[in-house]
């Protein structure tokens, strides 16, 4: 076997000995790559046997963001997410041609982006429609659902959004944590119910976030999106957190560690909510705002219960609660800032996907808390009590979600 020229002959984990052998080993690794390069060169040289390309250019454009930075001005951020360059020849606002400026250039190569500025007397509170005409007359559309001047990037605006983030993130989580003394007085069965309820809450959040993440991903530039972006990122985040948690699987899971991971997952979820709220406000949907804030606040109170549940057998201190509330709640503030000032559908989808992975991992962990006890007592983990808890958790989330819809 040692004489074989193929690396498959080597035992797994074997390392070749000697300088000459190393060079030979590297060459064998590079050989397929060299062949691949030759094949690619051949395809490029012969056009893959397809003949000359006669089809018209594929023109696609992704409108990342439409803002109204000042009265009489509309601004768009665009990305060419197609394979061919695209030139914006003319711009329509409400079915009328308007002069416009475009920087850095009117022609965009693949994945290049630009800012289009249109002097246009938009009308506060009304809707506007924008069309971008390419060289071949393809029209790419964007809209301003409710025209409202974009928030200025000043201290006051940041403070205002921080307040909104506090209302929808920090306050409800902190209030939810206040149920901790109540939960401590629950018996074993009551605790199982609360843990099952937490699973229900988290299941709802996972499904909810997945839908939202997929929707957000659709708005990302074409080359970056695709139906797999969210599931893959979520799966990787899930596996990563599982690996981290699994390292200490021999030791009993600390309640605080579990709670921290729940808080982290919920924090990412609240970041996503913050993004949605901030972006909605930036797009002028502030008219819908107060109910939106109340809805999210009520919706998120239940998150506190979920975070506190694994702690009931520990003796947590006040600073632990403060830390958990901050971990779960503060990302909402960050989310509103990002959403209002630098919203990018691609990164929003990534954040949400990571959140999904995190929450899914927490579900696994909380489930383990229930099953461990049940195994010790030689009882089935899923019984009418825990099923009722899961159902109640989902029902509570569903009902409070209606407030946001």
């Amino acid at each position: 076997m040692a004489e074989s020229s193929f690396p498959v002959a080597a035992e797994p984990g074997d390392t070749p000995r000697g300088g000459g052998a190393t060079a030979r080993w590297i060459a064998l690794g590079l050989f397929p790559l060299l062949l691949l390069a030759l094949v690619l060169a051949l395809i490029v040289a012969t056009n893959g046997g397809l003949g000359d390309r006669v089809a018209p250019p594929i023109e696609t454009l992704n409108v990342q963001r439409v803002t109204l930075p000042a009265p009489g001005t509309i601004q768009l951020s665009v990305v060419n997410d197609g394979p061919d360059p695209i030139t914006i020849a003319q711009v329509l606002v409400d079915d009328a041609y308007y002069n416009y400026g475009m920087t850095p250039a009117r022609t965009l190569g693949r994945l290049e982006s630009a800012t289009i500025t249109i002097p246009y007397p938009w009308v506060e509170g009304e809707a506007h429609k924008i069309g971008l005409l390419s060289r071949t007359g393809v029209v790419f559309e964007a809209e301003v659902p409710v025209a409202l001047e974009a928030p200025a990037r000043d201290v006051a605006a940041f403070a205002r959004f921080a307040l909104i983030g506090t209302y929808v993130g920090v306050v409800p989580v902190a209030l939810g944590l206040l149920w901790f003394p109540f939960m401590r007085r629950l018996g074993r069965r009551g605790m199982d119910f609360i843990l099952a309820l937490t699973i229900g809450l988290l299941v709802f959040l996972t499904v909810d976030m997945f839908g939202e993440a997929q929707e957000t991903a659709l708005l990302a530039p074409g080359a970056l999106k695709g139906p797999l972006l969210v599931p893959i990122v979520a799966l990787l985040a899930f596996l990563l957190l599982l690996t981290i948690a699994g390292r200490k699987s021999r030791e009993p899971q600390s309640g605080l560690a579990t709670s921290s991971r729940i808080a982290l997952g919920i924090g990412l979820h609240n970041l996503g909510e913050g993004l949605a709220i901030g972006a909605a406000f930036a797009l002028g949907e502030v008219a819908l705002g107060v109910f939106l804030i109340i809805g999210f606040t009520l919706h998120n109170v239940t998150e506190g219960i979920g975070i506190a549940a694994p702690l009931v057998r520990d003796r947590p201190q006040f600073r632990h609660f403060a830390g958990l509330a901050a971990l779960a709640g503060l990302p909402a503030i960050l989310g509103t800032w990002i959403g209002a000032f630098v919203y990018s559908p691609f990164w929003a989808a990534i954040f949400l996907a990571v959140g999904i992975g995190a929450i899914a991992q927490v579900i696994v962990e909380v489930t383990r808390l229930i099953t461990r006890g049940a195994t010790r007592r030689d009882e089935p983990a899923l019984n009418w009590l825990t099923l009722g808890g899961v159902t109640a958790g989902i029902a509570i989330m569903y009902a409070t979600a209606l407030l946001v819809a």
Binding site: Q90, Y100, G101, A105, P119, L133, R135, T136
Partner: protein, 405 residues
């Protein structure tokens, strides 16, 4: 055999020097030089005081002798850099939105200038038949051609003689006409004349010779009657597509004063009575660049806003006659509204008495046409706008201006 090329009006000084059909570039240069002041005034008109229209123009379109340039509201000319890449950033430097396309079309590259088209009449090659009548031979070739319908927006047109609209075929009542048609396009085409002729000469798919296939030729032959303002267009199926791709043109038959009396002399360029008239051909057309059955660009003589950027100069001491034809596809009607003035209207131009008197707005259904007669004799010099009165159309390009001097 005498090649006749008439111009209308047979020009007194100073307005509209002859722009002979065969010496297009000279004519265009002259016209452009004359419209420079008009442009500056227009800049002030449409953009408000202190505003500057930043018009970019492809370098190839610039006629070095013509002195094209950016124009400011103050009236001073700002010469464009010698080479300007249309793909480079466009800039907008004004306070309010300018309801207009950005830049100017490259008429030289397109081989078609709407300003020249207005007064370009093709009388064909005339000869005398044994019975003393005039025989006129015309050559019309169908070719596929990409045309620029708004600055930087290119439309894959089907054309007669490489231009949209096709050449204005003009003749005298009673002439024998021979239209030698060759199809060098990629699809079967015909020429269907609105006029009186036999079924065999009707130019319709399936009747007589029917479709003229690519590479084939056919001669349509008939007498010129009745006098009036008519049109010709392709009648191959699918009809909508063949028309909206650009296969149409004006067909004008001058009334015979020997049959219809002195009133006909004003419409007949061979009589001195016609010299008090300045005549223009205007075809209202539109382009569906996305091929969804709705037009993205509306225009008078193909190029959106062309006569806003290059006003039509008319002399106050001469009357104005407009041969107006509606070749718009998809929209059932189009219209013309003249500002600050009223006109007499001759539906189809087949009468010498107006069919409507003292109106300032008329509408035409698809294929309808007529003659407008008016005068600015008692007006002060200035910019007088005219446009479709469906407000959507002017904002999408069918907006023009007369510069009365």
């Amino acid at each position: 055999m005498v090649r006749e090329t008439h111009d209308s009006p047979p020009a007194t000084d100073p307005p509209m020097p002859p722009t002979p059909f065969l010496s297009r570039s000279v004519g265009r240069r002259g016209l452009v030089t004359r419209t420079v002041t008009g442009l500056a005034t227009l800049g002030a008109l449409v953009s408000g005081a202190g505003a500057v229209i930043a018009a970019t123009r492809p370098a190839a379109a610039q006629d070095p002798a013509a002195g094209h340039g950016q124009h400011g509201a103050g009236g001073q000319m700002v010469p464009l850099p010698p080479t300007q890449d249309p793909a480079k950033a466009a800039s907008v430097e004004h306070d309010h939105g300018v309801q207009m396309t950005v830049g100017d079309v490259d008429t030289a590259a397109m081989g078609y200038d709407p300003s020249v088209y207005l007064t370009a009449f093709d009388y064909g090659t005339a000869s005398t038949l044994p019975d003393g009548r005039t025989l006129r031979d015309y050559r019309v070739i169908a070719v596929d051609k990409e045309i620029e319908i708004a600055p930087g927006v290119f439309f894959p047109a089907w054309t007669y003689n490489g231009q949209v609209p096709g050449p204005t075929i003009r003749c005298n009542e009673g002439d024998r006409l021979r239209i030698n048609f060759t199809n060098n396009g990629s699809h079967p085409h015909t020429i269907h004349f609105h006029g009186i002729h036999s079924a065999a000469m009707d130019g319709v798919t399936g009747i007589g010779r029917g479709n003229i296939n690519p590479g084939e030729s056919f001669t349509y032959e008939f007498d010129a009657r009745p006098f009036g303002c008519h049109l010709y267009h392709c009648h191959s199926t699918p009809l909508k597509r063949h028309i909206h791709k650009g296969l149409y043109g004006a067909f004008i038959i001058n009334p015979d004063p020997q049959k219809h009396g002195d009133r006909a002399k004003g419409r007949h360029p061979e009589y001195s009575e016609s010299r008090q008239w300045q005549e223009f051909v205007m075809i209202m057309n539109a382009f569906d660049t996305t091929f969804d059955g709705e037009n993205e660009v509306y225009a008078l003589n193909t190029v959106a806003f062309h006569y806003m950027k290059h006003p039509i100069r008319i002399a106050r001491d001469q009357s104005v006659r407009v041969y107006l034809i509606n070749a718009t596809e998809f929209d059932p009607i189009n219209s013309l509204h003249l500002h600050a003035n009223f006109f007499d209207y001759y539906d189809h131009g087949t009468t010498l008495e107006p069919t409507l008197r003292t109106v300032d707005t008329i509408m035409q259904c698809q294929g309808q046409r007529g003659i407008l007669e008016f005068s600015f004799k008692d007006h002060e010099p200035g910019m007088y706008m005219f446009h479709a009165h469906q407000s959507e159309f002017p904002e999408l390009g069918w907006m023009s201006v007369f510069e009365v001097v």
